[in-house]
């Protein structure tokens, strides 16, 4: 049985709000500070912080405070997981082709 991560529920909850979907679309184009986001979506800093916090809990966004500015970006951890998976997959494909070559040599004349 495939086990779906519990995070999926938090992800759906996080995505249920149009402002939060807008924040993700905006961050897809580049990092932004919380105050920029607040201005863009016409809300208070406190209101924007709440949205970002929900997106962070779902792993969709990370935020970092540099000096007095807190900036947000798309979830980095998930991206790292994915890069590792792509690298693994590349190695697997390579190994598979080595095995295929052995198989074709071994069965030469049989098939």
């Amino acid at each position: 049985m495939v086990q779906y991560p519990r995070r999926l529920d938090t992800t759906f909850a996080a995505l249920s709000d149009p402002t939060r979907r807008g924040i993700l679309t905006r961050l897809g184009r580049g990092d932004a500070s919380i105050s920029d986001l607040a201005a863009k979506f016409g809300m208070t800093l406190t209101g924007m912080k709440k949205h970002v916090k929900i997106l962070e809990a779902a792993g969709l966004v990370t935020s970092e405070k540099v000096g007095r500015v807190r900036s947000a970006r798309l979830g980095r951890r998930r991206l790292e997981d994915e890069s590792a998976w792509i690298a693994t997959y590349q190695r697997m494909q390579h190994d598979r082709f080595n095995r295929l070559e052995e198989f074709l040599e071994r069965t030469r004349g049989e098939t």
């Binding site: 495939v2 993700l24 997981d81 994915e82 295929l100 070559e101 052995e102 074709l104």
Partner: protein, 163 residues
């Protein structure tokens, strides 16, 4: 091109034109028909796809929309892989989706082209494209939004009829 490796006389070229794409070319010393069958026949694929590990072919419906599921039994555990065939054009093209149980939702699309070199050898060109998390999430939430709008439109229509 980032890497070229030579081994056992064959050259396998791995290129990464983009971070999200894996491109592998390899020439096999076997006619195209045999290579095609090694990819599309159950008892044949079971002998190499598992990379030396025991491979159980649970499902393999080699046709457009057909489901495949392979389970590899290795020293570090049991790993399931599955997807659907998107294009099956013997003996030239095979396109399928690919997902590993360990990374649910991360779907790659694999395209394998079999090229007859005319001298009894076959060139296999494999391209795997991984969708980015953002693209996937983008599809997810645009899909949700679209779905909601459609539901609202249907509701509007229903309410208008009842008036």
């Amino acid at each position: 091109m980032i890497n070229t490796e030579k081994q056992s006389g064959a050259t396998s070229t791995i290129t990464s034109p983009a971070d999200r794409e894996i491109h592998i070319e390899r020439v096999f010393d076997a006619p195209r028909d045999r290579v095609w069958r090694a990819f599309t026949e159950r008892d044949q694929i079971a002998q190499w796809w598992g990379r030396g590990n025991k491979l159980v072919v649970e499902r393999m419906e080699v046709e457009r929309g057909g489901h495949w599921r392979f389970v590899e039994h290795s020293a570090d555990g049991v790993h399931g892989f599955e997807g659907r065939y998107r294009e099956v054009t013997p003996p030239e093209t095979l396109v399928y989706t690919f997902e590993w149980d360990g990374m649910p939702g991360h779907v790659a699309v694999d395209t394998t082209i079999f090229e007859d070199l005319g001298d009894g050898r076959t060139k296999v060109v494999s391209t795997s494209i991984f969708h980015t998390t953002e693209e996937r999430d983008g599809m997810l939430y645009s899909g949700m939004e679209q779905g909601l709008n459609q539901s609202y439109a249907a509701l509007d229509e229903l309410l208008a009829k009842q008036e």
